[in-house]
Amino acid sequence: MSIDMSQFYQTFFDESFEGLETMESGLLGLDVGAADEETVNTIFRAAHSIKGGSATFGFTAVAEFTHVMETLLDEMRAGDRMVTEHAVDLLLQSVDCLREMLTAVQNEDAVDSERVSNVQKDLEILLNGDESSAAQTENTVEVVSENSNNVSTGWIVEFKPFDYLLKTGNDPVRLFRELSLLGEYTTTVNAENLPLFNDFDPELSYLSWTVELVGDITVESINEIFEWVDDDCELIVTAISSQDEEVVVDIDASAPEQFSQEVEEETEVSPIVENNVQELKPENAPEAKTTPAPAPAPDKRGAKKPSVDQGSIRVGIDKVDALINMVGELVITQSMLSQLGENLTQEKLEKMQDGLAQLERNTRELQESVMRIRMLPISFAFQRFPRMVRDLSHKLGKEIDLRLLGEQTELDKTVMEKIGDPLVHLVRNSIDHGIEMPDERQAAGKPRMGVVELNAFHQGGNIVIEIDDDGKGIDKEVIRNKAIEKGVISENEVLSDEQIYDLIFAPGFSTAKEVSDVSGRGVGMDVVKRNIRELGGTIEVKSEKGVGSKITIRLPLTLAILDGQLIRVGGDTYIVPLVSIIESLQVRDEQVNGIAGQAELYKLRDDYVPIVRLHDVFTLKPDSEKLTDGLIVIVEGEGNQVGLFVDDLLGQQQVVIKSLETNFRPVEGVSGATILGDGTVALILDVVGLIKLSKQERIKAA
């Protein structure tokens, strides 16, 4: 049976790249000296899987390379090896190396074999502090070749299974069937241990056998058959022909024979071990003279990654299930319609129209679900930062604590791909120009370790990404002088702080005294701003000298998904983002202060919360204008709270945000719209906007 293994390659590559991510983030999280056991195990497992897969699918070089990594990790896992900084660095380099190898294999490109063999050699040097595992393997191979002379014209096999043999799933019948294939075969059964019927346990085996085998048979081929049961039986194999050269393999007791058994197993079914011995040697020998591996270039890796990702997109099962569900509904609707259409009469017209409406709804839902597939958590863009920050801080001698927040915030895959490089540039900038050297920080009374924080969240139909550092901040004077020097502004121009910070994004503007290889590579800040503009977003810098800088990127999300609370005012349904809801409560009259319709305040515990009557904001007719008849939904935005007066709370659901701006025009108090399951449009409330509105109203009222 021949099977085309290439059909499994894509899955293998996908899981391997994922495994590499796991390894990388695991390695970055390892505490040198006191490594977390489970983390080491996870890293080991990833390497182990890649090795197994690459060996199975014939990617020998990858398998060999991973084998060395795996051995190292195995020792760490077993506690035989300390987790040192050097080992972690080397393993991280190996991850890069492996990623390159896999990418090359995937694209059928040549592998940078010099880099690979350098890293592999470093790994082996680290490993072989005591003795070479390759050498060990070689030894065992030799032992076997000596052993394999054990050919005889015949053998006596005495086989006495322990009583529990059947409970290992091994059947003596299978063993005899295989023995019979080796040569001429006669067997005698020994039933003397068979108990009396009353004592007989049908689950145990009581028999033993003596098998005589005649033919050119090696002892290995016999041992191979009994390989699985050697611990579950007494087995004695004796050569018939030459009495003086008797070979006895009594497996349960003696150690040396146990060893030969192991040896045999290793060679017969594991070509990879032999490959290691034979192929590693010639590769390693010449490379001893080559120069050490060049420092890993994080840029290259960052640039290469998308080419790997483009082919496929990982989608949560729930999203796929939703799709399948909807396609199912579509099929039902379709068959309903075609049934109706077969003999359409006047009275069926209404049903037909219902069916068509249903079809329309199905189609729309399907379309939305398909679009939702494109939404990925921003962790995909964030995941490269731990490694990058680690490498950079090593290089620059800085101590940096990277914090990632809001990693589950979803955004469109296209937006994610485009925002990746600008983010890299901004984080690099924060580290290179923002965070000071540890000594400098200490002198300034700050902790030696600087903090860089990335935070992502949804806000009013936008996704906001903040890059916050506690470094030295931006010196407005320096920027101003630089801008004058470069002729961007004139000497006596008066600029607001905002305008000064905005100068950073002017083309060709760089404040670093010399272009370092950290932030000076590739795109400049002007390109960052342009990229973000192209996505329809904005970028904003806030900084305080000596305290730090905060860069805020706002990207519109025509496709963002929002967890919404459906509320009802009169006959209309609105959606309040679930994240902004603090609580919902029934109103008691005595807790409301103020005159109806004007600046009402609700006493919520120790606070007074302004009440916003949504029916007033949107000029609707509510069920009742009496506060006690409805509900108050307390919402918070930018640190302020208001109570929204609504008629009723409906369900909660995830909604896809449609931009009102692009489809209609901006509406105060509304951040977007969505289409509900029944086909009606519901507006999504802009909580921050509503709070601002209510403030203005109160000022007017006062």
Partner: protein, 120 residues
């Protein structure tokens, strides 16, 4: 033809094993770790279990131990799929009640040959 439970946390290995076995006419139940496998084995009596050893949540050795303790799996052949570096793993598997092992990497043909031996 037999019903075989194939357990591996690596999707590509699972695919390969499953495709090979199905190609030989067997029924295959796939599971991605020990916990998953145990659940599937309980609701779906199989004739043979092939399991990877190193897996998250529940490893192959524990899976075999758990399965062997079930009356319906007392005599069922169970093979570990193990790597050549895992000699102690083979033995651990055996002690847990495994019938035997198949050493990774294996080709589809090697897999089928071994299965044939066990299933008779």
């Amino acid at each position: 033809m037999a019903k075989i439970l194939a357990v591996d946390d690596s999707a590509s290995m699972r695919q390969m094993v499953s495709f090979t076995l199905k190609g030989a006419g067997h029924d295959v139940v796939e599971a991605s770790d020990g916990v998953d496998a145990l659940e599937k084995a309980k609701s779906n009596q199989v004739d043979l279990v092939l399991t990877d050893v190193n897996m998250p949540n529940m490893d192959g050795v524990t899976l075999i131990k758990e399965l062997r303790a079930l009356p319906s799996y007392k005599f069922t052949p169970m093979l570990t799929l193990t790597t050549e570096s895992g000699m102690d793993k083979k033995m651990e598997g055996k002690q847990a009640g495994a019938t035997g092992w198949i050493v990774k990497p294996f080709s589809p043909d090697q897999l089928l040959a071994t299965i044939k031996k066990v299933l008779g």
